[in-house]
């Protein structure tokens, strides 16, 4: 009996213990870190930035080859183009470590729609990578450019976007997940950060370009593009992008420049933001409300006679900062309401949350309502800290007549 039982167990386990029948070893994979999608003549052009493992290994010198390899193929569908890359690449592309997806501006204007399904459906592709748009350029050209600090350009772009989002307001890291939500969500429109190439591709794709302290071709994040459905309709300026980010509470830290009472400017460093975006649903006369509460400290004073030890001065700085931010938000609102007629803020979504029943009645006309909707913007700034010094050393520099005047 016991023996029989054991025999059955061992035979059953033969079926179950299949070991790694479907395994792929690391050296059989082409790890894709950056992907670009362009559209040309009814066909997708897929650009894959693949890590060249031999060149980025830590313990051995490199052989002077490029740290990443870029493969490009055309196809009737996205999937087809990707698979066709195997005819040139020695390995099958592996997408789980994708860092950045770049859409060409042309494609973004035509609509991202068709490409979205594959990116969400394929089990290999995660949804934690960032999405950006190549401003004034093809996505393929962005991915060809080498970068200096991080050997892998896609990694550099990923980190640069993270860093600039943390310390500088006009960029917006949007993951695939977020983009999907914005695209299918009611009462909100999608927005993506733009990425620009400064310099030309021919020099940027060569290793030689990195042998100088200032590479001739660099990549740079620039402003935010707004979408209607899945189509790019326009770009926000830097101020407008900042305003949008402030309204959405995306700003972790940034620097605001305000004018002094007399000549010169002062900088306020903001490091805490709370924002609230609400819609008061009153049918076609709905109202929007944005409330931003910020905390910050004095970052730099570039004018004389500003007495920071006085309460009034601090209040003055706070009010100026509030004005500045408020103005940016108004600029962003103006651009979206009047110029592009899209709702990247998500006032519609806020309306749905606050009053779902009425929302169903007005959602089809939402953009028309949003266009004319008055929005109240309230910004409160509290300045807590002055930094390492009190008054600016500029105050103590005595006024000597300029030398030239004496002569």
């Amino acid at each position: 009996m016991n023996q029989k039982f054991l025999l059955i167990v061992s035979i059953c386990s033969l079926i179950l213990l299949t070991s790694c029948w479907n395994r792929i070893e690391l050296n059989e994979l082409a790890i894709v870190v950056g992907m670009g999608i362009d559209y040309d003549d009814g066909k997708f052009i897929v650009t894959a930035q693949v890590v060249n493992p031999g060149e980025i290994a830590a313990y051995q010198g490199s052989g002077g080859n490029s740290p990443v390899v870029v493969y490009q193929e055309k196809g009737n569908t996205l999937f087809e183009a990707i698979r066709r890359i195997t005819t040139v690449s020695p390995r099958k592309l592996y997408f789980s470590h994708l860092r950045l997806l770049v859409y060409g501006e042309e494609l973004a204007k035509k609509g991202l729609g068709k490409s979205l399904d594959f990116l969400s459906r394929d089990p290999e592709i995660r949804t934690d990578f960032y999405v950006a748009i190549a401003k004034n350029s093809k996505a393929g050209d962005i991915l060809k450019v080498l970068t200096a600090m991080e050997k892998i350009p896609a990694q550099q772009l990923f980190e640069s976007l993270l860093a600039s989002e943390k310390a500088w307001a006009p960029t917006m890291p949007i993951t695939m997940d977020q983009l999907n939500l914005d695209l299918i969500g009611e009462g909100i429109n999608a927005k993506l950060t733009g990425i620009m190439r400064m310099g030309n591709v021919q020099t940027g794709e060569k290793l030689e370009d990195l042998q100088q302290s200032k590479p001739a071709t660099i990549l740079k994040y620039d402003a935010i593009g707004v979408f209607r459905k899945d189509q790019l309709v326009g770009w926000l300026t830097e101020d407008e992008s900042k305003g949008l980010n402030h309204a959405l509470g995306n700003v972790k830290s940034t620097v605001v420049t305000i004018p002094c009472p007399e000549k010169g400017t002062a900088n306020i460093e903001l490091n805490q933001t709370n924002s609230e975006l609400k819609t008061e649903v009153l049918g076609h006369k709905s109202k929007g409300r944005i409330k931003v509460v910020l905390k910050g400290n004095v970052g730099g004073v570039q004018c004389k006679t500003l007495d920071l030890s006085k309460q009034e001065t601090m209040r003055f700085l706070e009010i100026k900062t509030e004005k500045e931010i408020q103005q940016n938000i108004f600029k962003a609102l103006h651009a979206s309401q009047k110029e592009y007629k899209v709702d990247p803020f998500g006032f519609g979504e806020a309306a749905r949350r606050s009053n779902p029943k009425v929302w169903h009645l007005i959602k089809n006309d939402w953009i028309q309502i949003f266009e004319k909707m008055p929005v109240e913007v309230k910004v409160t700034v509290k300045i807590h800290d002055l930094g390492m010094i009190k008054n600016s050393p500029l105050n103590k520099i005595k006024k000597y007549p300029a030398i030239q005047n004496q002569q």
């Binding site: 999937f79 005819t87 594959f118 030689e208």
Partner: protein
């Protein structure tokens, strides 16, 4: 007595223990990974791609030299040309690690038969490398191009052929024994994958080519060459090559698309294929049958309004794929029958297996019979999964 035996054992072991009299140290060998064969004015031009060991060592960086060296020689025969290379190479060529053999298109048109013998007979050459034909260029040029990712171009070609045959399918890694069997048999003709140079060779052979993210010159597999016995008689495009592999059941995985009912495309990822190819006598004449059974997943939806949660849409997709697939297989078979008259599918062999007596009547002029043979095609497609999401996000976007 005992001493005598010892003496005899001692002397006879001298004869047997000959040591490594035939040894060759690793640093005396030129390890050939790629071999190109062209014909130039009645002479064979041999191109050998040899590893430069110090450049590909893993523990130290290279010194900026090319990772492989290419040697070329001409000769009346393959063997002669190979041996002649020692006049330029510092070491004797060693062929056991051969990865890829490229036949020049010109040579292939004249016939590759004479070359095969030397490859088969030599004890150093193994049977695990792939054979390809260069398309629109000489084999020599193909082997000169440097590749990124895999430092050794022959390795890159080998791996790329393997990867693309596995996940894309218009290509196929053909080994020597496979080629020879198909070449000598009456009932089947060989096919070989074509390799093309995109870009120019002088740029591609420099190290600079791989010191940029997107090399200007790359090697690319494109289409399959149709042979009649040992002569190349034509090329199939990507679509046709794929169809041939479906018919032969060689497709491991591939992608293809079908049209949505409302326009747009749906991509089906094929994950498994089985095919049965046979031939029978039907009313006194040979008749071919191709039965393909494939399984696939929905890979991508590029259209609005397709409800994948509805079993009807799935069966619609299955039907459409079956229709598409049987259509391309049919048109490919017809194209090969009409324009090339070369039985690359092996219907002749199938007939031989099923009705050996009848086969004897046809075998002398099989290709002629093949070109007029009716073929029945049946495709059975089953869609199993839809990936990580159900309906396309496009559907929801449209509702906005």
């Amino acid at each position: 007595m005992e001493r005598k035996t010892l003496m005899i054992i001692f002397f006879s072991s001298l004869l047997l223990l000959s040591g490594c009299w035939n040894k060759r140290e690793l640093n005396e060998l030129s390890i050939v990974l790629g071999l190109g064969i062209d014909k130039v004015k009645e002479q064979y031009l041999i191109t050998a791609q040899v590893v430069n060991p110090s450049e590909i060592a893993s523990k130290k960086g290279g010194s900026g030299k090319a990772p492989v060296v290419v040697y070329q020689e001409k000769g009346e025969t393959l063997f002669e040309a190979v041996r002649k290379i020692t006049t330029v190479a510092p070491r004797k060529l060693y062929f056991s690690h051969l990865r890829i053999v490229v036949f020049g298109e010109e040579l292939a048109k004249e016939g590759i038969g004479e070359m095969i013998d030397a490859l088969l007979r030599d004890s150093e050459v193994r049977n695990d490398f792939f054979i390809t034909v260069s398309k629109n260029s000489s084999a020599a040029d193909v082997l000169k191009v440097l590749t990124p990712l895999e430092k050794i171009p022959a390795n890159s070609l080998f791996a790329s052929l393997k990867a693309s045959a596995k996940s894309w399918s218009p290509t196929k890694g053909v080994t020597l024994d496979n080629l020879v069997t198909n070449m000598v048999s009456d009932g089947i003709n060989p096919i070989l994958t074509g390799v093309e140079i995109s870009g120019n060779v002088p740029e591609g052979e420099m190290n600079k080519n791989v010191a940029q993210t997107k090399p200007k010159t790359i090697l690319k597999y494109k289409g399959m060459a149709i042979f009649k016995q040992d002569k190349l008689i034509g090329w199939m495009n990507e679509r046709e090559s794929k169809a041939v592999h479906y018919a032969l059941g060689k497709v491991k995985s591939s992608v293809g698309y079908v049209k949505c009912p409302q326009g747009g495309k749906v991509v089906i990822e094929v994950v498994r294929t089985k095919s049965k190819l046979h031939a029978k006598m039907k009313s006194g004449k040979p008749h071919g049958f191709v039965k393909v059974k494939t399984q696939g997943n929905v890979g991508e939806v590029e259209c609005h309004g397709l409800d994948l949660t509805n079993p009807k849409s799935i069966s619609y997709l299955e039907k459409e794929s079956e229709k598409n697939l049987s259509e391309i297989i049919k048109s490919t078979i017809q194209h090969v029958q009409k324009d090339y008259r070369s039985d690359i599918f092996g219907f002749g062999e199938a007939l031989y297996r099923s009705e050996p007596n009848e086969w004897n009547k046809y075998k002398n002029d099989w290709n002629q019979t093949f070109s007029q043979m009716p073929v029945t095609i049946r495709v059975d497609m089953e869609i199993r999964q839809t990936g990580t999401i159900n309906n396309s996000p496009l559907n929801k976007m449209e509702n906005k």
